[in-house]
Symmetry: D2
Subunit: 436 residues, 4 copies
């Protein structure tokens, strides 16, 4: 189901937007979008056996089965519970098991123990998904005008939410399979070839008062709003992310041994974890020549973008290179000003430089760490009700990443999209773009 | 496959013994015994789905699937590797994945991560078992006289080892299912009814020089040897283990709140863990009236033996009761002197007082904590080769338990049998018998 | 040596500035300033016995004796080592013991073990201070024109550095004495009386392009530069910090029990630490009516500013109050626009509202948590050489606080001053000012 | 005050014994003994400054000042509180600060925080000691016949208790000073020279029914009773402890790298701690040629007894040497049978083989790890009242050591004496004697 299509940084397509009126066309479009997203989740899970789907290799990661159930719980809780006549829970204790972090909804099963949920099993979760799908589809076809806006808005949120979890299914299963000394592959063939990295150009941008944040009528998360002015000094942005070869030069030059390149917390983190290369690089006899991927163990290609780095490593690399990371505002401004956006493809699963002629910015299928702590925009208001916990309460201690990765669902991201992780997170498909 | 048969404390039956000569009868008897034990493991795993079989709820517990593979690895490594012509490993990295703790064999996959072994899956483990079974059965029928003694001795060890893991499959899966708020049952019906506890009598024993340790020609582990003299003062032993009703009286009397009853380490353990009742008792609104069992949640029966206690709790209870725990020598001496042994049944799965008329000692389907630290007997020699790691290297920091439990394979234990766990272990089916 | 004098947010006084020319007046002024700051450190340590001075109650805090030695090491390392003819170390292993975090200088004694430095003792540290003082004073009088700028600049840095440690001496000793059940006082008498809090007014500010960062010729740390433009939306700022009475209302209203008010990390922190009130409030029988201060245990005064809160608590309070914390840019802009600054006094040691008529903003002797993560300003360049580690490497995971506290040395802070701590830090004298 | 005198394994001298009648002689003898022990504590503390006396380098160790106060609290609590007319506490909160672990007495200040007790300071502790000394001396002279036995028994216990803490003062201060990179000496001169180790002989002992435990009228702790029969197989005991040269051979032979020599828990401990030599050996460039002692850094002498080892190391060494550790019963039986006991000297402070002609057994000034877990003797009864917590509640998870060390007070130990520590403890002066 690979779909490769050029994509603008400001999508306004109808796919997951909230239309105010429930015409037959809107109902059908949303039902089709619903089914497409839900089907993709099951397709992503399909290559995984029951045990693979239950793997939880660290508290930050969740089992695939849990993702499948949690995204279903989201629709059940936030839509069906409120808008379905004669609603009853599919199974009452799912409400605890599959509530991720919504305090307003109730008790949550402890996150570090999600790998201990042997029941429901994968078939029972498939049944759960099927029943909720039936009920949601019915509701989308039957809900009256008065509730259409709320229901369709929550459905759009639920689908975007599910797309986020689709990416997590892949990152989490990669981390889970990595624990196995046989290094099993998630997918056996079809890995894309690396394309030449090319020279990095420094693109100059003028700065001034920029508009930052979501505009237009397309779907966006609450953390992308409100759109606001932000004053930027003139700056320069690298035309492409850092490559494996460039990162190898940093390592050869003693980058991991020189505390002066590192943030203080980063140095402590790196020393405590004895970290000396990106997460999935495989060291044998002191050398790294391969890495673990969703296609199993593969040669490290010097022309590929480097990936699976923490913010601390990205920051140390930038210091070594005599540069810095861009702020999220610089990043967004440049993407908009240059009208640049990666070609999106659903399932390449491996970072590679974007060969398509997309203008001055080249992307690499990696999320790009910014220099910005994840904070509310001026005037930020969380969504109303329990979904208000979606984003706002995470606005401390995390760092914004921008762009999209080779694991991101097509059509999911945009110029104003704000991804965020703790600075020591490495299991996401994260890379480095420099600024000056 | 329930088998209930009276049993003497000194079994000499042929089942798992090492015969010196490989007559056709011996070959056939061992093959039959082999098949029976191996089949029972699969029967115990049968009610469990793939995810259930992969559960690891704490580092001390292992997934059922891992037990199934590890016991197979034991035969492959200690018998086939050495005695099978043209031996090759079923799958080379199983050697790391399923090596529990044998340093002489090689690297071991980290114990706390056994729940992360999604592959091999349950079917691949079944294949592994079937192939090793074929090869062992062939070997038992073909190995020449010269190696018979070694092979049959290792096979007997492997089968006794597998019986130990059969008990662990049950204790570990109970702990794993306990993590699930829906409290799923391992077995849906057939729980035995509690029988009246009856009064506790104090049996007086004379002491003097006792013979302690394994005698006779039946199988025994190395830690039961050599048989030796041990001087005992006269003592008294309770005729039966402590009941739920008696333990409830201890709790009601503030037993968990009075540090003077506890060992110093026990008090620290109990305070840190906020422990106020046996492991599987379920507290709702400050009261415990049910407990989690392999049959799911069930009423706490006052006439059942109390179980799933740590040594610290057993010791505190004994202090409260104005008594003490018996030493392992007292325990063994009494069982031999009184010629007492529980009726053995393969699968009652729930502790209950032993209704059969077995003489002055009544058992309860619980392992009985002794006062004895697990130490080598005078003159102890570990088995030769890698199997020498079986017992000896664990002889520190652990406490001996004696008897057998309702989860122990029939025919597996005996008067000289020494079970051992850390003093804070509670997930075994452990109870209390008092001494004075 | 109490000195209370009105103070402008933009001090340009000569005290600790770097003059480019070494006239006799400049030399004398700097020597006098040097002596005054150095003397104040010793005066702060004077009430403390040898054991008090060695207390380290947590890794974040350091012993008073260590502060006294470290500030001396700073002058020895960064000035004498480079500019004193015939330099030799006072005592070579002090270089490891009293190096806080300067990787470019060499090895550092582990921070969590500073309380284990029994030797040098307090008298040897006094000798160390006296000798370095002699040598610095000589140098300031003798260094030639060519090095004056560098030496005087480093001396100014060293004195501002020492003033920061003076505040830490007080915060750290308060935390240290708090561990003692007898709750000893650092100072026995002279605690200032609380003054009425008064009503909070909401001051409206226009926003627009603001100048943020240090300007002028006075001393500032590198993290306050460069001065730059920042676009602000119109906002409102509370005229004074939150009072004890107001915070008590938050507690009474269940503020610590409602997860919806908290950041996700804050809730986890608060639950794990079972935190239900500010750090130094003393709970007896479920009620807090007193708090521990540098004057020992004292009544909680409703009209005092609330203090010793984490960022998480400040943020939760703001949510409860239907407001938010100001950004550091809003804070700085308001202070400049309104030309407001607290009266400064060296040693009141207790937060109190500032009774002096200082215009629309009232201060409370507490550092004010902002909503801003501690990040580099656009174009930030760390100082050259090892002092470049002073600030820049801490720019992750911390939150900016603005203003000054009742423990801050007079003349030390200014409108552009950026203090920073981890969001869970509570042992600083930190409080809350709201914005909207 | 060095006193070197030959000593028998069964002291019956009057020094710290409990006489039943309070004749003038008894009163005076006890007063003199009291003063001598109390004076020695102060003499041991005298070389230490205030900060040295407050050092707590790990939870297992306590500050010297705390030992001085705790031993005083012992007399105040167990004697004065009960027997002094018009008793009042010297200072009420000392009761919490200096209660080590007596739950029956009340709350205890947390052990890991004892280094945070800056007040009372060393002078206030000296005052505390002086006042309690006055009051105890008065009481010993005035208490009537009726209470003499109880008071004199508790006084003997208190003095033996204080002697134990005298040894801890030395072991704990050595560990505290070891944290300082300047490796300060507790004592500057007078270290005894090493004497030749000589050959190890294997002494054969017959075994049979041995009498184990305290006999006679001299003082003994409750854990040495009751005296009882214990059956021993014939065994052989090494004539002297293992030397540094012998232990170096173990290391050179890869003893720390061979898991087959180690107990399972010992291997895990050693790997986690990256332990490759005894605690105080100083490794520079991969070699150990010196060690830290109470005399500062000194050459490792091949002819000295090896010391400061954990039980795990002692056990691994014994396995490597093809031997084992003796049980505590073997040890006691041999010492009695051979009538062997070390020359006792109050303050050599460094392990050395005992040159004096003491018969077949040679001692080395080190406690000797036995193979025996610390358990109650058959019929053991703890002392009545709160002092019943003295020993009994520690009878789990610890290992018995026998003999005495070069830090033990003269006259303090005997053949039946049972010292005990956790198997990973290394900061005591512990060594190895082999058995077979």
């Amino acid at each position: 189901m690979a779909s490769a299509r050029p994509h603008s940084p400001e999508p306004t397509g109808p796919l997951l937007n909230t239309a105010c009126e429930a015409g037959a066309g809107e109902r059908e479009a949303l039902s089709l979008a619903y089914q497409a997203v839900r089907d993709r989740t099951e397709a992503l899970a399909a290559p995984l056996g029951a045990e693979d789907q239950n793997l939880q290799s660290m508290p930050d990661a969740s089992p695939c089965k849990w993702h499948r159930a949690h995204t279903t719980w989201f629709f059940e809780t936030f839509i069906l519970q409120r808008y379905q006549p004669d609603f009853r829970w599919h199974e009452p204790h799912f409400c605890e098991l599959f509530n991720s972090y919504y305090q307003a909804i109730g008790k949550q099963y402890p996150r570090p123990k999600r790998g201990l949920i042997s029941r429901p099993d994968i078939h029972q979760v498939a049944d759960y998904r099927a029943e909720v799908d039936r009920r949601i589809t019915d509701l989308l076809n039957s809900v009256d005008q008065r509730h259409w806006r709320a229901v369709s808005g929550l459905a759009a949120l639920g689908l975007n939410h599910e797309q986020q979890h689709q990416e997590l299914i892949l990152t989490d299963v990669q981390h889970g399979l990595f624990q196995n000394p046989s290094l099993p592959a998630y997918r056996l063939s079809g890995a894309p070839a690396a394309t030449p990295a090319g020279q990095t150009a420094w693109l100059s941008l003028d700065g001034g008062l920029a508009n930052i944040g979501h505009t237009g009528t397309g779907f966006a998360f609450d953390n992308e709003s409100p759109c606001h002015s932000y004053y930027l000094e003139p700056y320069r942005l690298a035309s492409r992310p850092v490559s494996v070869a460039e990162y190898q030069a940093f390592i050869r030059d003693g980058g991991y041994d020189n505390p002066l390149l590192w943030l203080s917390d980063g140095w402590a983190w790196q020393q405590a974890g004895q970290i000396s290369h990106p997460l999935y690089w495989l060291e044998r006899d002191g050398e790294c020549s391969t890495q673990f991927t969703l296609f199993g163990e593969r040669e490290l290609h010097p022309d590929a973008p480097v990936s699976h780095l923490s913010y601390y490593e990205a920051n140390a690399y930038a210091n070594w290179a005599g540069a810095r990371l861009p702020t999220e505002q610089e990043w967004e401004h440049a993407v908009r000003t240059l009208n640049a956006w990666p070609t999106e493809a659903d399932d390449s699963l491996l970072p590679a430089f974007d060969a398509a002629d997309r203008g001055p910015l080249v992307f690499g299928g990696v999320w790009e760490w910014t220099a910005s702590a994840y904070s509310p925009y001026p005037g930020f208001k969380p969504g109303a009700g329990a979904v208000g916990e979606y984003n706002g309460k995470f606005m401390s201690n995390q760092i914004v990443l921008r762009g999209r990765s080779c694991l991101t669902a097509a059509g999911h991201s945009r110029a104003s999209y704000r991804n965020f992780f703790y600075p020591d997170a490495r299991w996401q498909c994260s890379g480095i773009r420099l600024a000056q």
